[in-house]
């Protein structure tokens, strides 16, 4: 299988039991507050906060490291460019290459934000099953059409991953050269076939869903009301987020 669902935090963990709508609001507040931080004095506090949230989730460190790898490549590219090209204050020089203060500080700020945001976002996504998260987004005002598309797409991604894998194996067995530039045509035909098959499958899915009442009034799935602990956790997150923004705006 080409894709895997995000792992979930252990059940019974305080973060996985936090009411999803409030968790979404609380952790997103933190994420967006982190995105505003550019004062160097707040960076250590931001990283500590993100690590504390991650610690509460009981996720293994290796999971976070694996999540940082792909976007880290982008950061690596900036690490090469920024300190050498941005700013006028030269920290060190070797021939024509100069390490500049402003670019280095800019990179530090970007790296800290990048790490903290991804850490908290990872906790949010790993501690909440996808359907629950989408339903929470819907109850917070996301349009129904988007919510339905998210759930359906999530359902089909895994099936299509297997279909695509099988089609590529079949193409390879027929000696198609998938590892060369000329493979564009073969890959295009595989994608075209998947589109056609999915088109027909969608017709059947819609017919079956219509028979089961899809499109009629939405069934309101009752969910337990948030408790005092849920609101307290939200209050902590909002206070922390507000504290970061207010401190940077008015006190630094």
């Amino acid at each position: 299988m080409l894709v895997k669902a995000a792992i979930a935090t252990p059940s019974g963990n305080s973060l996985s039991e936090w009411e999803t709508r409030l968790k979404l609001l609380g952790l997103l507040c933190l994420v967006f507050a982190f995105a505003t931080i550019n004062d160097l004095r707040l960076l250590p506090l931001m990283i500590i906060t993100a690590l504390a949230v991650y610690r509460l989730s009981a996720l293994p460190a290796s999971y976070l490291i694996s999540r940082l790898k792909v976007p880290g490549i982008f950061l690596l590219a900036m690490a090469v460019v920024l300190p050498l090209s941005a700013g006028e204050t030269v920290l060190a020089q070797a021939g024509p290459v100069a390490l500049r203060l402003e670019g280095t500080l800019g990179l530090l700020s970007i790296a800290a934000r990048f790490f903290s945001i991804i850490t908290v976002a990872t906790v949010l996504l790993a501690s909440t099953p996808m359907p629950t998260l989408v339903r929470a987004m819907g109850s917070l005002g996301m349009p129904d059409l988007l919510g339905d598309m998210l759930l359906f797409t999530y359902r089909y991604i895994f099936q299509l991953a297997d279909d695509l894998h099988r089609a590529r194996v079949a193409a390879r067995l027929r000696r198609a050269r998938l590892g060369s530039l000329s493979s564009i045509r073969t890959t295009a035909y595989i994608v075209g076939s998947l589109l056609v098959r999915s088109h027909w499958q969608a017709e059947r899915v819609l017919a079956a869903m219509t028979l089961r009442g899809y499109g009629n009034s939405r069934i309101d799935v009752s969910r337990p009301a948030p408790g005092l602990r849920d609101f307290a956790a939200l209050a902590v997150c909002v206070t922390l987020a507000g504290g970061f923004v207010v401190t940077q705006t008015f006190f630094l």
Partner: protein
């Protein structure tokens, strides 16, 4: 073309969300205008979104490296007004599953890929005038749709990155960076153009209704 979290200022991320919300609202209004029941198109749009999501994981060799397909042009061609919400959904899953992009940058990335996809949709509609069933106009418009979606997205991303990230770059370095980032994406745009044209020709032979505004 996926800008990760924490790179650009929060004002840009918030602006991206605002623009993406506006574009989503426009797309949903257009979908509602065209369909008695907009939900009828959801299973099809979702399945096709899943196909695009999976296909974008396929790597095409581009010596000395390899690139993954973006497919925003093809999404515009096949999904029409559903392309913007579909790209939003696809980017959400890419951020969740593979950390391509990020939650704070979802709006920005959706605009960088979704608006060019809608432009590609508009360009591909020219086939109504040039001949819906003739292979040549379909192939040419398919190529243009695939090429322009990546080229416009890459150019916009380069301008956005260079103008918002480093506060201390001088104008000549900025221009060089924008040009460099844009030129680096041109081979990918070419591959996307060829790929989109090939899929369009395939669909024209096998299932031409997928190229009409039927979704």
């Amino acid at each position: 073309m996926h800008i990760p979290d924490g790179i650009v200022p929060v004002s840009v991320a918030a602006g991206g969300y605002a623009l993406a919300a506006g574009m989503t609202a426009i797309s949903l209004r257009q979908i509602e205008r065209k369909h008695v029941d907009p939900r009828e198109g959801i299973p099809k749009a979702s399945l096709l979104t899943a196909v695009f999501f999976m296909a974008s994981l396929v790597h095409i060799p581009l010596p000395p490296t390899s690139v993954h397909l973006v497919l925003s042009g093809l999404m515009g061609v096949v999904l029409g007004w559903y392309a913007f919400p579909a790209i939003l959904v696809g980017l959400f899953f890419q951020a969740v599953m593979f950390q391509h992009g990020g939650l704070t940058m979802l709006g920005v990335n959706a605009c960088l890929m979704g608006i060019p996809a809608l432009l590609s949709y508009g360009v591909f509609r020219l086939r109504n005038m040039l001949g819906e069933t003739r292979p040549l106009p379909n192939a040419v418009l398919g190529f243009v749709a695939g090429f322009m979606a990546v080229a416009i997205g890459a150019f916009s991303a380069a301008v956005l990155l260079v103008s918002t990230v480093p506060a201390y770059l001088d104008a000549s370095v900025e221009r060089a960076a924008v040009t460099g980032l844009f030129v680096a994406h041109l081979p990918l745009a070419g591959i996307e153009g060829v790929f989109t044209a090939t899929v369009v020709l395939f669909l024209l032979r096998v299932q031409p209704s997928l190229l009409k505004e039927s979704l």
